[in-house]
């Protein structure tokens, strides 16, 4: 008697040449996920990403809490990019409840979001460094992260999960002398970033390892639906901050970083160059920000959304991050769907790793700007 097994559960034919490797979830080079890799000698025959180890049901949890109670738990998927993952939620809830945000709050939100983007990118860069065996890059960027963590701590009171952005503005006003301190630290950070160029990005061994590996062509990048830095590294000029500007991004002066190569090196370089743009945005926002005024619109207690649905998206550290919220006249949302950049970039892995050498696996995998916890939500 033979039973038909579901796909993925069939017994594997043992071949002398092909060896199956389970990279993860307990592997130093995997993150909270598993890559089922089949290798023929040093070449990868096929790769099957297996996410879902840190699924926490954030979307379901959001259906049992009202719009304000949802704030702290929704930032948990990416605790080191918490302002950005809350940003579209706040925008969507403001649309739903019809709240006007004060002008100063919009600038403060942009500053918090860009500071958090730098924190996320530095963390990502640190892990990219250690994945390639470059421990100095790990230590340097993990150390320089403290600059922004300290700034956000001064802003919000928390070092990692800030819960700073709320529907209607930000939780509290900036502390005294914040502008001066922020400017000083951002200027210092730009100086440090140029040193990264020397030790990491212009390193001949790094270039030899990452250039021409895992090439994602422009058409493939669009066809596979990638987003964020992966898309821009393949030559597509798409940044939501430019294309669909939200809050005050249209008033600010910055450029989109686009590279044409589409290889691991370009994918690792785009987020790095975007940190310079983030610094520009922060400095510009500090200059243009109203010096005083309210930062939060008062909400009614337990506000109810109408019979409505709304979708808003922003550019996070990993690409487009959207919230689709359906409301049915109750204080709690009927449905919250989070569309994250990580999950959309994950689909590239089987395409990019097929035919690559095993040694390129970490370089290609982590250049996708992928955060497993966010992908699982």
């Amino acid at each position: 008697m033979t039973t038909q097994l579901p796909p993925g559960f069939e017994l594997e034919k043992v071949d002398d040449r092909i060896m199956t490797l389970n990279v993860g979830p307990q592997h130093p080079g995997s993150g909270h996920m598993r890559l089922i890799i089949k290798v023929d000698g040093d070449y990868i025959v096929s790769c099957d990403p297996d996410p879902g180890y840190v699924h926490r049901g954030e979307e379901k949890m959001a259906e049992y809490r009202n719009y304000i109670q949802n704030i702290p738990h929704l930032e948990r998927p990416v605790i080191h990019d918490s302002s950005n993952i809350l940003y579209p939620y706040c925008l969507a809830v403001e649309d739903l409840l019809g709240i006007e945000v004060p002008e100063r709050a919009k600038y403060v939100r942009v500053i918090a979001s860009e500071l958090n983007r730098c924190i996320y990118t530095l963390y990502w860069l640190a892990i990219y460094g250690i994945f390639l065996g470059h421990s100095t890059m790990f230590m340097w960027s993990a150390g320089d992260r403290e600059l922004f963590i300290d700034l956000l701590e001064a802003m919000s009171g928390a070092r990692v999960t800030h819960a700073f952005l709320v529907p209607g503005g930000v939780r509290n006003d900036l502390p005294a002398n914040f502008e001066e301190r922020c400017l000083r630290q951002v200027n210092y950070f730009e100086k440090r970033l140029r040193e990264y160029e020397d030790i990491f990005y212009q390193n001949p061994l790094l270039k030899a390892r990452t250039e021409d590996t895992g090439i994602l062509s422009r058409t493939d990048a669009i066809r596979l639906g990638t987003t964020g830095s992966v898309l821009r590294a393949s030559g597509v000029d798409f940044d939501i901050r430019k294309k669909e500007p939200y809050d005050v991004y249209e008033n600010l002066d910055f450029d989109t970083v686009v590279m044409k190569e589409g290889d691991s090196y370009a994918r690792s370089r785009v987020p790095y160059l975007e940190m310079f743009e983030s610094c520009r945005i922060i400095k510009d926002a500090l200059r243009k920000m109203p010096k005083s005024g309210s930062v939060r619109t008062k909400l009614k207690p337990n506000p109810k959304g109408g019979n409505d649905e709304v979708y808003r998206r922003i550019e996070s550290g990993r690409g487009a991050l959207g919230y689709y919220i359906v409301s049915n006249n109750r204080p709690e949302p009927y449905r919250v769907k989070i569309s994250v950049g990580s999950f959309r970039n994950l689909i590239c892995i089987p395409y990019l790793l097929k035919g690559e050498k095993l040694g390129n696996m970490p370089a290609v995998y982590w250049s996708l700007n992928y955060w497993p916890v966010e992908a699982d939500r």
Binding site: D42, G133, H134, T136, M137, N203, A208, L358, G359
Partner: protein, 433 residues
């Protein structure tokens, strides 16, 4: 308020001290001394100053420090001392331990960290001891499907081979454990063992990651051993000998690095590859294959491998010093031994102590050791440096470099050496010798 021992009483404490002293004396005199005499009965005792060293005489001399110098001196010239203490294991292990500590502090300074700080008051100097104790106290886990005898013996073989390599390095004139006439060939033979050990223990662990790591180690060591051997041939051509001590003596006036810079560069790079250090740490690449062929080793087995690795690091740095940097040769900076101590003795107040048999080590040996240690430390620092600067390279890039670039460069310097030899500049009867 915290109290360490609430029931503490000084009188009881002193009484317990007396108790302990009484038992120690009793056990020593009833058990310890007879054992010492039984052992000494079977050992052939040396003649010192025409006197047979009986146990009572030895104990008399030990009690009188001024007369114990001959015993120490006779011990220094035994083979056991050479193997276990000075040019052998103890000296190398001390340098290796210093290397580990310096590596951690040095790398930390490069990476804007502080490194070990708390263990042992001064800059975390006891960190290594703490790490060693931790490794010793950890459980050794052996995979169920492992080939147990070979898996057990792997780390021991590794340390043993590294120790054999250390024993070939001459530190000072006459101070070398083993001084074969084919010393350089013996070095090649010894380092040829390391890939075998790596593959054996990788295969015995019966895991996919160790398997890949072992194969990588094999590929890497094969592709880098040929340039390593070829790069040293120019030294053999120039000095006309394979004996390491004689190679050092042939550099009395000029270091060979002056004539063979390309060989030195090739040899330096192949050292880093042989030691599996970044950027060539492919057999242990953690983000790709967990820890390579070391994946399944735990506790002190891993500690032994680490000890072997650092012994190997010292031995390679010493070999570089011996072959290219003139070994123990250097200007005489060590002060001569004050002869007054032997003739007049040391007078402290009314007591005058005379030490016959001094000095323990002659001036040349101390000076040579000083220069050897300085040069070796410099080479070790250079070997540590790439870890903070470079990422890991890929296995195909490594094979390409090994088989195309470094072999060719090694040959270039062989021809330069031959040209210098036949032009009559170097070699026996040459212009410079």
């Amino acid at each position: 308020m915290s109290t360490i021992a609430p029931e503490f009483r000084l009188s009881r404490f002193i009484a317990s001290l007396f108790d302990i002293i009484f038992w120690i004396l009793l056990i020593f005199s009833l058990v310890g001394l007879p054992i010492v005499f039984i052992i000494l009965f079977y050992i052939k005792l040396p003649l010192i100053n025409g006197q047979l060293l009986t146990p009572y005489l030895a104990m008399t001399w030990l009690a009188d420090p001024s007369r114990s110098v001959p015993i120490i001196k006779s011990f220094i010239h035994t083979t056991f001392f050479k193997v276990a203490v000075f040019p052998g294991f103890g000296f190398a292990a001390l340098l290796a331990a210093a290397t580990i500590f310096i590596e951690r502090k040095f790398l930390a300074k490069m990476q804007l960290r502080v490194g070990p700080l708390y263990c042992g008051k001064i800059e975390g100097i006891l960190q290594l001891m703490g790490d060693g104790l931790k490794l010793m106290s950890k459980e050794i886990i052996i995979p169920a499907k492992a080939d147990k005898p070979i898996f057990w013996i792997g780390p021991l073989l590794f340390v043993g081979t590294a120790g054999a390599f250390v024993s070939l390095i001459p530190v000072a004139p006459g101070w070398v454990v083993a001084n074969p006439n084919v010393g350089l060939l013996a070095v090649f033979a010894t380092i040829g063992f390391f890939p075998i050990i790596a593959v054996l223990s990788a295969w015995a662990a019966n895991s996919k990651w160790t398997f890949i790591g072992g194969l990588r180690a094999l590929h890497q060591m094969i592709s880098f051993e040929i340039p390593l051997i070829l790069s040293l041939l120019s030294i053999v051509i120039l000095s006309g000998t394979l004996n390491l001590s004689q190679i050092v003596e042939s550099q009395k006036h000029y270091w060979w690095i002056v004539f063979t810079p390309i060989s030195a560069i090739v040899f330096f790079i192949t050292i880093i590859a042989e030691l599996e250090r970044i950027p060539f740490d492919l057999p242990e690449a953690e983000s790709e294959i967990v820890a390579g062929w070391l994946t399944e080793f735990s506790g002190m087995m891993y500690g032994l491998i680490q000890l072997g690795t650092y012994l190997k690091l010292y031995a390679f740095a010493g070999l570089f010093t011996v072959l290219f940097l003139g070994g123990w040769n250097g200007p005489m900076v060590w002060p001569p031994f004050p002869e007054d101590i032997v003739t007049h003795g040391i007078t402290i107040g009314p007591v005058t102590a005379k030490f016959p048999g001094l000095p323990l080590f002659d001036q040349e040996m101390l000076n040579g050791t000083l220069w050897f240690v300085i040069k070796t430390a410099g080479v070790i620092l250079l070997i540590l440096l790439p870890r903070g600067v470079f990422p890991r390279i890929r296995i195909d890039m490594l094979l390409h470099n090994g088989w195309y670039k470094w072999i060719g460069l090694a040959f270039v310097n062989i021809f330069i050496a031959l040209g210098l030899l036949y032009a009559g500049v170097l070699g026996p009867g040459g212009l410079i010798h």
